[in-house]
């Protein structure tokens, strides 16, 4: 049964190809587009049961399809590697993708580019599954670039608006910075260790490098650069909020649930390397903690519903990085999984809200939608609670408690990381309940244009069930994953029990909920007064512009490049070629004048030419 593994990425890829080439009627596109993902999801479940039923020797299964190429000792194979980590990723990706495809069949039904949309989405799923299942770094990089391409294509999906094209280019270029670091890291690893096969690489790295050696640090930092770009972490997070220009299912699938977590997956996959490079791992912690706080503050001030969720995504991936950095590897992957469920659900709910109001994104022009859109309200509420971490009930609470507890007790944990995690919980609870209260409670501002059908509500309900239920799987999940990802909460802080940490997190959650309730439901004038106070106004502007990062990058990189380009326009080399062009033009003008069409003028020119020629021959 495990041999079916290759079909998991192959089916979506084939269907993407068919959708891109063949012109089909809408109904056929919807069926083909979502059934291919359904098939992929079903096969991944079959493979998962086969894997769990009879674990292969060594706890991992490798399927070699063929050798990609063979040049100078570099023999990357098209080979898939299935171990507990990639198994979980595969199922999460295939399952969430399937639900979002079903949702899209209705969401995109009024759109002209229906076939194009599903072709891109299927290609994305195929690339993401390749990324997750790749057994060597080069194939992983292929999937990595594939998802980047699909992200670019789908952000700029409504390409008639130049702003969407700009957002797509920004996403592509900013992630390119990280990808360049990543490919250099791959070169470095191959140069030093002579292989790209991930498991082989880890084995050789531990043999060849001692802990803290310069090469290990360099390689780990370069790979971290790639992860930071793809996962929208500080300092490359600026592309993700703008990426919300794409259709909402795209935001749900690519820019929340799956692609942006690729960086987390990469670091978890290469965790042996990070264990060899403590400074690089410390950098992961710092990036994660800083990003989760910065994005949390930014999310507080946004009034575009999708941008709130985008900053929330950045912040939650910050939590995952924090967990990776402190060495709580399974906690990061567990949060990745629960986050995929509840964040996809939040976006799908936001999509219903936005579409029912005819494309309205501003939360302050929504309001009172609780009665009109009950399914969207309840599922959004469940997902919001899961995101903020409503204790004991929701999946998000279990995963986040684990991370926050790990931030203190894991190998590299410290009290400061624990505190930043707590502040993050307060912010999360504030911004998500702000959104919920403003959108679904209060007075209704605009009428609901049309209500969602079953294709949109059923995926939401299923995701809502998982947003709650996934949390109870923590025990078996942890046991299953520790085979590949070590998890040993150190005995350094035995006094600090997990229950105590969870209790404090829960208290902080309710504090955030209470403040959101006071400021955005009960007494909205308090929030307004806070926003117009001098300090409030400065902070609001600062956070609203994402800590002025775009402004800084514009000054630091974009404008100098534009300036140099302006100077370069009139350089010496160009001058020479422009002179040639000028010379040609002059010659052309002169010769053009001789072609007058006057017969006698031609005769004169011939005669004069002959005379001059004879004169030259005679007298010179």
């Amino acid at each position: 049964m495990l041999r079916l593994l290759w079909l998991v990425p192959a089916i979506p890829f084939a269907s993407a190809l068919v959708l891109a080439v063949v012109r089909l009627p809408k109904r056929a596109i919807a069926w083909l587009g979502s059934c291919s993902i359904a098939a992929s999801c079903a096969i991944s479940l079959i493979v998962a049961f086969a894997f769990l039923g009879a674990p292969p020797a060594g706890g991992a299964y490798t399927q070699v399809l063929w050798t990609w190429f063979d040049v100078g000792g570099l023999r990357p194979q098209i080979a898939l590697y299935l171990d507990p980590l990639s198994l979980i990723m595969m199922i999460v990706v295939a399952f969430v993708s399937f639900l979002i495809h079903v949702y899209s069949t209705e969401f995109m039904s009024g759109d002209d580019g229906y076939g194009r949309f599903f072709a891109y989405m299927n290609l994305f799923v195929a690339s993401m599954l390749t990324l997750v299942l790749a057994n060597n770094l080069l194939l992983l990089y292929l999937g990595w670039e594939g998802v980047g391409l699909c992200s670019y294509l789908l952000i700029g999906f409504w390409y008639r608006d130049p702003a969407n094209g700009r957002a797509g280019r920004k996403a592509f270029i900013v992630t390119r910075v990280g990808d360049t670091a990543f490919i250099i890291g791959i070169f470095l690893l191959f140069h030093q260790l002579g292989t790209l096969e991930i498991q082989d690489l880890m084995r050789r790295a531990t043999l060849q490098w001692h802990t803290g050696s310069a090469m290990a640090i360099a390689a780990a930092v370069l790979l971290l650069g790639g992860a930071v770009g793809k996962s929208a972490q500080l300092p490359l997070q600026t592309w993700l909020p703008d990426a919300m220009a794409g259709p909402t299912p795209v935001s749900a699938l690519i820019h929340a649930a799956t692609m942006v977590t690729a960086g987390v997956y990469l670091i978890a996959r290469m965790h042996v390397l990070y264990a060899l490079a403590p400074p690089a791992q410390f950098a992961v912690v710092v990036i994660g903690a800083a990003t989760l706080l910065m994005a949390g503050f930014s999310a507080l001030t946004q009034h575009d519903l999708k941008r709130i969720l985008a900053y929330s995504t950045i912040s939650q991936i910050g939590y995952m990085f924090l967990a990776l950095g402190v060495g709580a590897w399974p906690a990061a992957i567990f949060h990745l999984m629960t986050h995929a469920f509840f964040k996809a659900l939040l976006f799908l709910g936001a999509g219903i809200v936005i579409e029912s109001l005819g494309g309205e994104h501003d939360i302050f022009r929504m309001g009172g939608l609780r009665k009109e859109l009950p399914v969207a309200f309840w599922t959004f509420l469940i997902a919001g609670c899961s995101l903020a971490g409503l204790p004991l009930v929701t999946a998000g609470a279990f995963s986040k408690d684990w991370i926050i507890w790990g931030a203190y007790t894991a190998a590299n944990g410290s009290i400061w990381l624990w505190i930043s995690g707590l502040v993050g919980v307060l912010l999360t609870s504030l911004y998500i309940f702000r959104a919920i209260f403003v959108v679904f409670f209060g007075k209704q501002h605009s009428p609901v244009a049309h209500k969602p059908g079953y294709a949109m509500t059923v995926p939401c309900v299923i995701l809502a069930i998982f947003s709650i239920g996934a949390g109870y799987m923590r025990g078996p999940f942890s046991d299953f994953l520790t085979a590949v990802l070590p998890w040993n909460p150190s005995a350094v802080h035995p006094a600090f029990s997990e229950i105590a940490s969870e209790g404090i997190v829960a208290a902080v959650f309710f504090v955030g909920l209470y403040f959101a309730y006071v400021f955005f439901l009960r007494r909205r004038d308090y929030a307004a007064a806070l926003a117009v106070s001098p300090a409030g106004r400065v902070l609001h502007r600062f956070w609203f512009s994402d800590w002025a990062m775009d402004w800084i990058y514009d000054r630091l990189f974009v404008q100098p490049v534009v300036w140099i380009a302006q100077i370069g326009k009139g350089d010496l080399v160009d001058g020479f070629f422009r002179f040639l062009a000028w010379l040609n033009k002059i010659a052309w003008r002169g010769l053009n004048r001789t072609q007058s069409g006057r017969l006698r003028w031609y005769a004169f020119a011939i005669a004069a030419g002959t005379i001059v020629y004879i004169a030259v021959v005679l007298f010179l």
């Binding site: 007058s596 069409g597 006057r598 017969l599 006698r600 005769a603 004169f604 005669a607």
Partner: protein
């Protein structure tokens, strides 16, 4: 019979050629241009004959006969074209025919 000095013959040919060229450049009527070309042709013919007699060879005169025959054929074609042109344009002004397309 006294031989005519070669130089005289060549001068005559040169003068004829120059007159023909002058006519070609100065006249605007196509018919006169055609006549001027004939005069130039005859100028060269005189030069051939003079040069031939200088060396006591008949080649110059033979060549001139060929030139005359070719010129006769050429003139008949030229006149025919001239007539066609006159029928279409009602003019023989060379300066008026700066465009090749007859309709313009």
């Amino acid at each position: 019979m006294t031989a005519i000095p070669m130089m005289d013959g060549l001068i005559l040919g040169g003068v004829l050629f120059a007159l023909g060229l002058g006519g070609l450049l100065l006249r605007r009527n196509l018919l006169f241009i055609l006549i001027s070309i004939e005069i130039m042709l005859n100028g060269t013919g005189v030069a051939f004959v003079a040069a031939g007699s200088r060396w006591g060879q008949p080649d110059g005169q033979v060549l001139f006969l060929f030139i005359l025959a070719a010129a006769a054929a050429e003139v008949s074609v030229g006149l025919a074209l001239l007539l066609r042109y006159f029928h279409q344009r009602q003019t023989l002004d060379a300066d008026a025919m700066t465009k090749t397309n007859t309709r313009g």
